[in-house]
Amino acid sequence: MEQGNILEARNITKVYPGGVVANHNVNLSVKKGEIHALVGENGAGKSTLMKMLFGMLAPTEGQIFVDGKEVHFTSSGDAIAAGLGMVHQHFMQVPSMTVAENLILGAETGSPFKVDRKKAVEITRELSERYNLKVEAEEKVEDISLAMRQKLEILKALYRGAHILILDEPTAVLTPQETEELFEQLLLLKESGHTIIFISHKLNEVKALCNRMTILRDGKTMGTYEISDLDEHEISRLMVGREVSLDIEKAEADFGKTVFSVKDLVYADQFGKTRLDHVSFSIKEGQILGIAGIDGNGQSELVEAIVGTLKLQGGQVRLNGEDLTGASVLKRQEAGISHVSEDRMRYGSAPKLSLEDNAISKVYYTGQLKSRGLIDSKKVNGFANRILKEFLVKYDNSKQSVSELSGGNVQKLIVGREFDYDPDLLIMNQPTRGIDVGAIEFIRKKIVDMRARKKAILLVSADLSEILSLSDTILVMHEGRIVGHISDVKNTSENDLGLYMLGVKEDSKEQIGGAYCE
């Protein structure tokens, strides 16, 4: 093996139960002390490869070397012992435990018979200081922000003495400031001798952070490159196999009448914490209203309040002049609301059911799928396949379950379902989170199409470039309140938004009030 390769995967093949070939003769070599990017479309096999390196999956074929020695991990415990640490795409934390407890889990302080919690808290604080990754040691994980959970994941790896860190899409949930902060810390880690594998769909990040990159497509290695040798377009092409563009072409704004408005929404959760604090705004035909904000500042509750799954303590929701306050979810749908939720697997689909079942969730009770009073499977099949094809979902057949699709394809299915409903108000909550450039491009284009068709669109996104490139108007939320109202989107930067989001800057009452009109 090549000198200086701290980690190497050779001819790795992985076949999942069910016969999915996720990796096919994949090669990866990572040099000591570098930040190595791994990129590829959804389902290219990145996570799978990493899970094998980390001992969570066994390769069907192939070899893995750490420090030049072949290893056979049977569990992540083995990988941890060998100096690896992994930050998973989906957080690997126990929500009911505290940050400190999560940190030490599996490598507890104190004796087996008396876990030393005090010490755990101390260690957490100390590590947090040392690596400048701020976390609240004694908070429960279910109560902390996503950014903090992200940091906790990294701390967990460091606490276990990892000198090779695998980060699977760590920035998907972070604000630009947070991302920047994270990058600084990663660079610090690199300087202190750590090796990092970095997975991201955001190519600008990859360019900014990494030294080399390996590209995967369809489970195969497309090659390893010096970052400086490729520009973003070339990377996209290698990943997707064609040219992609994320620059959105969108027509000049041409708003119609006000379609939708909310007024003075108030909501407190079961722990007595205020989540929505007198939120008011309205949206016009053909307008995309973007909501920016750090996760957990009331955006989810706002969406839920509009969709109708949340019982508000006060406020009003109106669509097309109709008062929907207190109306059921169904009633609101029928009034013309569509919704792409932030967590596609949890709120947007029934993963264990078929694509067909998932495709018809908005229209299942209507006459268009029935014949002689019963749901007609031929019609369902036709309906589902039409949406799947129209929205370019990659699938085998419409009877397979949603859980067998990759995330990006699930998202396309959901977007297809919601757009096909032809709503008056379209709510998009994190529509492109964690999906690949090809799918992002597609979905954004579709959103702009809907705008052209004079729909009112509410776009909630943590991806500020998305907010800035799509929205006609932007509201920023902080601790349940609207703190910023931006109409001049063209002349606003991500950093400007960041200041509102962090609560540093706040617009005047009048300006914020301007977001609402009857």
Binding site: P17, H24, S328, V329, L330, Y347, P351, I375
Partner: protein
Amino acid sequence: MSKKFTAVRLLCAFGIAFVLTVAIIFGVSEEPVTAIYNLFLGPLQSKRHFFDVFASSVPLIFTGLALGLVFKSGNFSMIADACLYTGAVVTAALAIKTALPAGLHPAVIMLLAAVVGGIIGSIPALLKVYFHTNELVTSLMFNYVFFYLGIYTVTKFLADRAAGTFASLKYQPTASLGSLISGTKFHAGYLIAIAVVILLYLLVYKTKFGYEIRISGSNPEFAKYSGINTSRVIILTQVIAGAVAGLGGSVEQMAMYQRFNWQDSPSYAWDGVIIAILSGNNPKNVPLAAFFLAYIRVGADLMSRRSDVQNELVSIIQAVLILFVTAERFMAGWKQRQEAKKALGGEA
């Protein structure tokens, strides 16, 4: 691939269960061949025994359907037991105390038993929806409550005082679901069971409400976001399931009994769990799963009657069969190697 694998796996599981069973029988029996012959082929020996299997499968079909429906909606209520028992008590009361013409009598009784079953079925669901109680807890407890209530009703109002044991008065002859094939117990109730199977299949897979059940059961959060009133689904599903179980109790009484004499609860609901899981909560598969369980039970009965193998061995054998037949990952390693071979072969 997957279908073929399931077949191979099932065959092997049966194989293992068979070998184990045979080994146990050889270990304890002086006449193992007789025992084994009766266990596996006994039910095929005569028309009467063969149709006994169908008759025995009727309550299993009803509870299997009821439990399957409840599971499908993502709940775990065992209230079917109380529904079935009380449905039987209601049947007894009506079969003794009312007089109606032959065809109508069973129909009215079944309807009322189903209604009562439905009402009882709704109780744990209502408690769950309104007070956030766990339906498994309340249903298990309510099963006792309704059992004792049933016993009280029968002792107080329906008992045959001349009987030397716990038994109600005799049912009116009009309230009988007689045998359809003479000399066997194959009764009209089986056809009713099959009709319910078809209805439930249509309900679950072909109607709006069925879709709501499946979505709510598979992912309640998604159901909520899709505008489905999940509370309504929970309640209505358990009402339907309760009605099916109540109907089952009614059918069983009118077809197989002439008096009410369930001094102990027959606990068909636990059997229902087995059937529901064996059938993958799909009504379509329920009759087959019920037939399987009834077959091994009738076979085991015959074995214990005709050979020296003790009655109790039956439960051991049943356990072995159920354990292996339902072991999902049994032979999974083999399956995966086959799949890997095929997938990679296909690519190369």
